[in-house]
Assembly symmetry: C2
Homo-oligomer: 411 residues x 2
């Protein structure tokens, strides 16, 4: 939760619409007059709602950094995993409530941070066994350079808004929108070569350098990207899944340098990570010139992608390995000390909580994919030999408590 | 986030007031007439707010169980760590937004679950190195029995609401409130002996058995507690910090059996855990007779307690062990491959992102409590002998890359 005023105006008009507002507690109509209401819902809003739900983690992070500037060691690195909310129509990959995992470094312009973000994305996805992804990179200064080459220096925001829709509306519609924004019809012919860049990232950069030769800002953007790639190389980092996409714009207006977006290549899904460098995000809260860069992992979308690719293990590593089944009260008491011993040996175990029928208890183990079941009835209790059943193979063994512990500890 | 209608009416009148309501998106005034507004804020509420923020995790859990009843294996165990919100005046130990960690078992009346909750609390706090706690237990059936003994069978809710305030208002005020609720002045004399029970939990239970001899429900509550204690004993669980507190009532009205509350004994703080058994929480959502029991850990309060007792480690186990400091560009490039090698050896390392002055880089390591710093300048780069500094002792060693790796890996 944040103060509504902290969030308003940071995400563009469309973003403001998507912020969930919280109604003031108690009698929210207390000081509201008829004329307040007649002014309509937009003007009434700040009078009946002072708080709102986080739209992302970046703006609250900037607010936090400014509030705690005197207690923070800069460059400040933080990660944060928390829910955010957007009042969107829910659909696959688009949820009203979802979790983001953000990592940012603020307080240094060093391009090492950009390189480490790229390495981090590779490390995270490698741990998840997920390889079918592509990191698209670009730089807002390259987009500023393109605007400059098109004769509209300073209009990179209009350019970004239009280019952002290229996939959806096509190049002609993009040009049309730019014409309406005051771009020159002749100049727009210069746009197409930018969209036709192909090949390796090194080749694209060298072609791009020729196209942007007249823009110092554009060349600076290229140089930043080159330096980032060079840091990756010197780090001996194996980061193969990177592509330069000159049409990558990102919606948020606070980016000023590198921008990133990660797409799953084998699953239909919006971007699963996004981020970039912001030179002055803390400025609106009163702390200017604090350059930072960050990335946001969209956890729910990554979950959806891994799920679709069957990348989750069948049995989570922390779930029960053993179910103890007792069939009468005396056996239940015996099972109690058995489950305690198993747990003390680090074997995740549970005891079926009732002395229910065998079938019911075994089907519980089956449904929960518990790999082993130990059966304790009168016989087992008296002989101290318990029946250990492998639920997958169906194999059954009679074993003592010590044997049971050593069999399961070995798994 | 939940539908407001899911939450309303589950937490009592005071609870309803504390639920944060979310304003409908877009033009929330669209279908609102002047007469709607004249009816006041309470009646207007459901017309301008359809959603609300979770007040706890238990009611959303019950909603989830009912919605997914056909896909769930019962008895169903789940844990859940998520934020909840209450529109309270913020103060120490009382936050508008805080995290709960809940564990519940639903679909069995087995008292094994009560015992396992008590064991779990001990296990969790042991892992946190926290011993100064007391688990207060009681049973709603004992409270029902007391109401019956006082001649007001079925009035245990009035009794709970009054007793819940005993600590704050004292016994005379509790009696006064009960008189107003229709309890008999003579009968209320029978109340005091319940408040004077002392000694071990076994002794308290045996005294209580005499006081409740005329109430079958009360005796059942005692028997449930005794069985729970017996399961703990048979489990050979070492759970010393338990006390029976007959005045423990818990605010929420859905409890029907065991109730739990955990207090820190050496820190001034509200309860840090709370829970109990509910026989019919899913009933309001259309699935009756589904008995469950659960516990909620109040994570922020536990954090506050651990913090006050200095139980957090000075250095988190996952923070950086090594800071690489470079003082010119060539050394920075050398440091890049060093930091990569260290990370590959499992040594959490960072590279100061700029070639800043030595003092600045060392004070960064100091502030972040990074125990080792490696210094790389021209000399070190040429001789391949790096200066490793222990930040706590100040000791410095000149060592090769391999020596550095083996020194730090050994830590």
């Amino acid at each position: 939760m944040e103060n509504l005023s902290v969030l308003t105006g940071k995400y563009g008009d469309e973003g403001d619409q998507l912020i969930f507002k919280i109604l003031n507690s108690g009698d929210y109509l207390d000081k509201i007059s008829t004329s307040d209401i007649e002014e309509g819902y937009k003007k009434l809003l700040p009078k009946i709602s002072k708080k709102a739900l986080r739209y992302d983690l970046t703006v609250p992070f900037a607010r936090f950094v400014v509030m705690n500037r005197n207690d923070i060691t800069f460059p400040f690195k933080r990660y944060q995993i928390q829910p955010v909310w957007r009042s969107d129509r829910p659909q696959k990959g688009r949820y009203c409530e979802f979790y983001q995992c953000d990592a940012d470094v603020i307080g240094t312009p060093s391009l090492l941070c950009e390189a480490e973000i790229i390495m981090m994305i590779h490390t995270v996805f490698k741990k998840l066994n997920f390889n079918d992804f592509l990191i698209k990179v670009n730089n807002r200064k390259i987009l500023a350079g393109i605007a400059e080459v098109l004769g509209k220096k300073g209009s990179e925001n209009d350019l970004c808004v239009a280019i952002d829709k290229l996939d959806k509306i096509g190049i002609e519609a993009v040009k049309k929108e730019l014409l309406e924004k005051g771009f020159d019809v002749q100049a727009l012919q210069l746009l197409e070569p930018f969209f036709q860049l192909e090949g390796s990232i090194e080749n694209t950069l060298s072609s791009l350098k020729k196209l942007l030769i007249s823009s110092a800002t554009g060349l600076l953007g290229i140089s930043e990207l080159e330096q980032t790639l060079s840091i990756l190389k010197l780090s001996e980092a194996h980061c193969p899944n990177i592509a330069l996409d000159v049409t990558l714009a990102r919606g948020l207006s606070y980016y000023t340098g590198a921008i990133f977006e990660v797409k799953a290549t084998s699953v239909q899904m919006g971007s699963i990570c996004g981020g970039g460098r912001y030179d002055n995000l803390t400025g609106v809260f009163g702390l200017p010139n604090m350059s930072g860069v960050g990335i946001s992992f969209g956890i729910d979308r990554i979950y959806d992608v891994l799920d679709e690719l069957n990348l989750f293990p069948v049995q989570p590593s922390n779930s029960s390995q053993l179910l103890c089944c007792a069939f009468d009260e005396a056996s239940f008491n015996e099972a109690l000390s058995m489950v305690t011993k198993c747990r003390a040996h680090g074997i995740n175990s549970e005891l079926y909580p009732e002395t229910a029928k065998m079938k019911k208890q075994l089907s519980y183990a089956d449904d929960k994919k518990i790999p082993y079941v130990v059966i304790i009835g009168e016989n087992e209790r008296l002989t101290k030999k318990y029946t250990l059943k492998n639920m997958q193979s169906g194999e059954q063994n009679s074993c003592s408590m010590d044997e049971l512990l050593s069999i399961l500890s070995a798994k």
